[in-house]
């Protein structure tokens, strides 16, 4: 089943990417095999494994290996990308219901996978609702169904293998799921010739499962795990817990009865390193001593004996060894980003397109709901008939009743009533509205405005494809003015921009405030705003419209901070001939990307905006 969707090993061997020449300290493939074995030891306990790799021989080999390690009688269920909720969770089995004359519940795929593994295909594109269902089942160890007249609670414990085929950073498995998976594995740069069959077998796995419950974990190991997680900036406590379980599985696999430094290192490599959001502080500089909160009094006496630090000298080294192991395992691309310090400041909602929105007319079909057709909703005939089917007997009886009482005796094959109507729901990405906020003051205004106008027009040309809108605010003299309300129309934009005035003072604060206000309006209508501010960052008109450089600068910075609170995507383009720190500081306060563009030309500007939004 697992090998069904890929080319076989020998024919596809030539497409394997070439491996880098240097030999890694611990072979990536060995770690991948270890991950498969550890997952097989405790699929449900580890939650899951996220396997980032394009379909190809290496991934096939890994999946084959996993299949071999799982006992043959355990279910493996594949979840296709667009699975319906009814199939995933279970619901009414219509055919069986009609045949039996009583409600028959259909077991969902998650219930079927009890004790086994769920394979999630193309996990980077999985719908948020599917991800939420999987998360709920992983958390509670049961599937709770409240659908189509069926109420059912089915216990199910399974592990997930998420096949992540994301090609770039924007395609990621939903974070809700990743947070519940223990192991994150990237097979991306493993060459086929590195991928040897691993030397684990089912017997070992089964033996390890038997030992799993008895594995002891001492405080040092726990401290090493939690300490490493903190040092790498892995916030979610689920990750630490998962690392603990993986360490335990590792000890069981190795035939030990207590977790040792190797097990903790393996857990740190497989679980913690791929989630790092910061590089650990250098060893000579101990992590900041945080004041421990007063222990809640109700817990005090329970763990006292466990809290006693064992008086062994190797206490510190263990954590360092683990941390080093984890650091060495941080994937290269992640490492590069960490070194740039880019992770912490990453925007909350990264991603190119707007947020997803449920509309009634356009987009991808996303299930059905009860409702009236018309007014923009489309009738789903199949679902309507399905909804009507169970009630036919009742309705037939009612008809004979009315006929007997002298009513009209209609002879209907299937009676569909108003309540049966089901309409199709659609889901679409919400449109992005790019708001240009242009400094129209002073002498350079005319030039800047012309460039901004050019960029607006270039972006508008793209709008027909991307379904985006643009708007434009100019600020000069005493305040800001909305020159172009959000529009998709090229003609309207050109007309609105034609008579653009320039000159006067620079009321920067007023401009930023106006942008926040407009962006808020866009968000309320379900759009995603992106703000592009063209300025040199030097204000000389206060929020009240009075001249005064110092107060104006203060006002601008306070507006910038308010802007950051609104958490908008933004780009500050510094258009002064010689970029100065003012605009950069402003960008920092706004939480915006800073781009010095002294000779802003429309094409470069349009390109930069597209990169941000």
């Amino acid at each position: 089943m697992m090998a069904a969707d890929g080319a076989s090993r020998d024919t596809a061997g030539t497409d394997a990417p070439d491996a880098p020449a240097e030999a890694p300290r611990i072979s990536r493939w060995d770690d991948a095999c270890l991950a498969a074995a550890l997952f097989a030891v405790d699929p449900a306990g580890s939650g899951g494994i996220s396997l980032r790799a394009l379909p190809g021989p290496v991934r096939e080999l890994w999946l084959e290996l996993l299949q071999e390690l799982l006992p043959a009688d355990e279910p493996v269920r594949r979840v296709p990308l667009h699975i319906a909720d009814g199939r995933l969770l279970g619901g009414l089995d219509l055919a069986a219901t009609l045949r039996a004359g009583r409600p028959v519940a259909e077991r969902g795929l998650l219930a079927e996978a009890d004790g086994g593994v769920v394979l999630l295909a193309m996990a980077e594109r999985v719908a948020r609702s599917t991800a939420a269902h999987l998360s709920a089942a992983l958390d509670s160890g049961e599937v709770l169904v409240e659908r189509d007249g069926i109420t059912a609670r089915t216990p199910t414990r399974f592990g997930v293998v998420a096949l992540d085929e994301g090609a770039n950073d924007e395609e990621q498995v939903p974070t809700t799921l990743v947070d519940r998976f223990a192991i994150l594995l990237d097979l991306g740069d493993i060459a086929l010739r590195e991928a040897m069959p691993a030397d684990y077998d089912v017997g070992e796995i089964l033996a390890a499962r038997g030992r799993l419950d008895a594995i002891a974990v001492d405080d040092q190991a726990l401290e090493a795990i939690c300490g490493t997680a903190l040092a790498l900036g892995v916030d979610s406590l689920r990750a630490s817990l998962a690392a603990l379980r993986v360490a335990r599985a590792s000890a069981a696999l190795a035939g030990r009865d207590a977790v040792t430094v190797e097990d903790v290192s393996a857990a740190a490599r497989l679980v913690l390193a791929p989630r790092a959001t910061q590089l650990p502080a250098p060893p000579d500089q101990p992590p900041p001593d945080e004041e421990p909160p007063p222990p809640p009094e109700e817990n005090q006496d329970d763990n006292q004996d466990e809290n006693q630090p064992p008086d062994q000298e190797i206490d510190k080294p263990l954590e360092e060894v683990v941390l080093e192991a984890a650091e060495a395992a941080i994937p290269a691309n992640l490492l590069a980003m960490l070194q740039m310090g880019a992770m912490r400041s990453r925007s909350r909602s990264s991603g190119k397109s707007g947020a997803i929105q449920s509309g009634s007319l356009r987009g991808r079909p996303a299930g059905t709901r009860r409702g009236e057709p018309g007014a923009g909703a489309r009738l789903s005939v199949i679902e309507t008939l399905r909804a009507a089917a169970p009630w036919q007997r009742l309705r037939r009886q009612e008809r004979t009743q009315t006929a007997r009482n002298g009513g009209p005796a209609a002879d209907l094959l299937v009676e569909v009533r108003h309540d049966d109507f089901r309409v199709t729901r659609y889901r679409q990405r919400s449109e992005t509205t790019t708001i240009f906020v242009v400094d129209a003051s002073g002498s350079a205004a005319l030039h800047r405005l012309a460039e901004a106008k050019g960029a607006v027009e270039l972006l508008l040309a793209d709008c027909y494809v991307r379904r985006d809108r643009v708007a434009m605010i100019a600020f000069r003299g005493p305040g800001a003015e909305l020159l172009l309300p959000p529009t998709r129309s090229l003609v309207r934009a050109k007309r609105g921009l034609a008579g653009l005035p320039g000159g006067g003072g620079t009321p920067l604060a007023a401009g930023i405030d106006a942008a926040v206000e407009l962006a808020d309006g866009v968000q309320r209508r379900g759009g995603t705003p992106v703000v592009v501010l063209l300025t040199d960052g030097r204000a000389n008109v206060t929020r009240e419209g009075i001249g005064g450089r110092a107060q104006a600068g203060e006002d601008a910075l306070s507006s910038a901070r308010a802007f950051r609170v609104a958490e908008l995507k933004a780009l500050v383009v510094d258009v002064s001939p010689r970029p100065r720190p003012d605009a950069e500081k402003l960008a920092r306060e706004m939480g915006a990307v800073y781009l010095p563009l002294p000779h802003a030309d429309a094409a470069a500007l349009s390109g930069a905006v597209k990169a941000v939004s």
Partner: protein, 348 residues
């Protein structure tokens, strides 16, 4: 149902625990919303609530768990008829329901619909109550509240506001009481909550992951212990859970006795005025929450220190977005408290 993690074993997250206890003490508080980071025990705390709640008196044989002491207007049709006929109602004890609204739930199961089984087997039309009926006088929990389908949110809001569920479908016309405490949790990174739904919650709590090693180790250790042997773990924490249950029970009894002096009312009004919260709902919730908190503490009068403690969860989601203020809503509430009531006193 798998046994829930014990409430008393939840480490730190004091504000969340307090908000849940306040809602359990005074159900009229209007629900709790817990928003925050992943893996902070949001769902764990709420699911643990069920085990804590003291039992309640219900009308025997009533499918809606009607309160025998309730006024006629709040009773369901069957109970009202029974009361008119016999003059009194038979009473039994029952657990307070904590109903899970799963994300994939369909509308018919939430608001109720024709009973499929009796329609198929006996050809009868019978109303099958939904989740809203089951949650009457108890709690309705929505995990990932921000991912709930819009049309379900609409039906929920309508019922939550009126306390009555009206079902008109398949030629069936049913009205039944459905007063429940809405409890929601979610992660802001998954999407914002609709403002209408946000406003429904009396208290809103922000949770974040603990950052110190000690607490984190404790959380991991306890959770691991629980997962390896849930029954033994629950047994170990049973007495502490029972203590909290007694605390809730006592607070419920004393709630009406707790005095709210005029000075406290005035302070609450000043605080709301200063923060510019919309409408009177904020003020009302603030007072109620403070009273419930005082009752939980065993105090017989509501003072400023009670207001100070419950003001952030009662008010932070009611602030208008202020363009001129860069601070987050929690900071704004705290700042206003400090300006009005001075630095935290030792009594608080």
């Amino acid at each position: 149902m798998p046994v829930a993690f014990p409430f008393s074993a939840i480490v730190a997250q004091d504000e969340m625990k307090l908000a849940i206890l306040i809602a359990a003490t005074d159900q009229s508080i209007g629900g709790v919303l817990v928003f925050g980071d992943r893996g902070t025990g949001k769902s764990t705390a709420i699911r643990a609530l069920a085990a804590l709640l003291p039992s309640m008196r219900v009308v025997d044989s009533c499918v809606y768990n009607c309160d025998p002491e309730a006024a006629d207007t709040v009773l369901c049709d069957a109970c009202r008829e029974q009361k008119a006929e016999k003059g009194k109602l038979k009473v039994r004890k029952s657990a307070v329901p904590v109903v899970d609204l799963p994300l994939g739930a369909t509308e018919d199961r939430v608001i109720g619909a024709l009973d499929l089984e009796s329609a198929l087997t006996r050809g009868e039309k019978r109303f099958e109550p939904g989740l809203l009926a089951r949650a009457h006088r108890g709690f309705l929990y929505i995990d990932e509240a921000n991912l709930l389908e819009d049309h379900l949110v609409d039906s929920l809001l309508d019922v939550a506001a009126s306390g009555i569920n009206v079902v008109e479908r398949e030629g069936l016309s049913v009205r039944h009481p459905a007063r429940f405490v809405l409890v929601g949790s979610g992660n802001p990174e998954e999407g914002e909550l609709r403002p209408q739904l946000l406003d429904r919650f009396g208290l809103s709590v922000e949770v974040s992951t603990p950052k110190d090693l000690e607490t984190r180790m404790k959380v991991v250790r306890l959770r691991d212990e629980y997962e390896r042997d849930p029954e033994a773990f629950i047994d170990k924490w049973k007495r502490k859970d029972a203590k909290i249950r007694r605390q809730i029970l006592k607070a419920k009894e004393n709630l009406s006795e707790v005095d709210v002096p005029d000075a406290t009312l005035q302070s609450a009004a000043e605080l709301c005025l200063k923060l510019g919260t919309d409408g009177l709902r904020g003020e009302l919730t603030l007072i109620r929450a403070a009273r419930a908190y005082a009752a939980l503490q065993g105090d017989d009068s509501v003072g400023v220190e009670h207001l100070r403690r419950v003001a952030p969860p009662a008010l932070r989601h009611r602030l208008r977005r202020n363009v001129l203020d860069d601070a987050g809503s929690t900071t704004r509430v705290e700042r206003a408290i400090e300006e009005l009531f001075g630095e935290a006193s030792a009594a608080a």
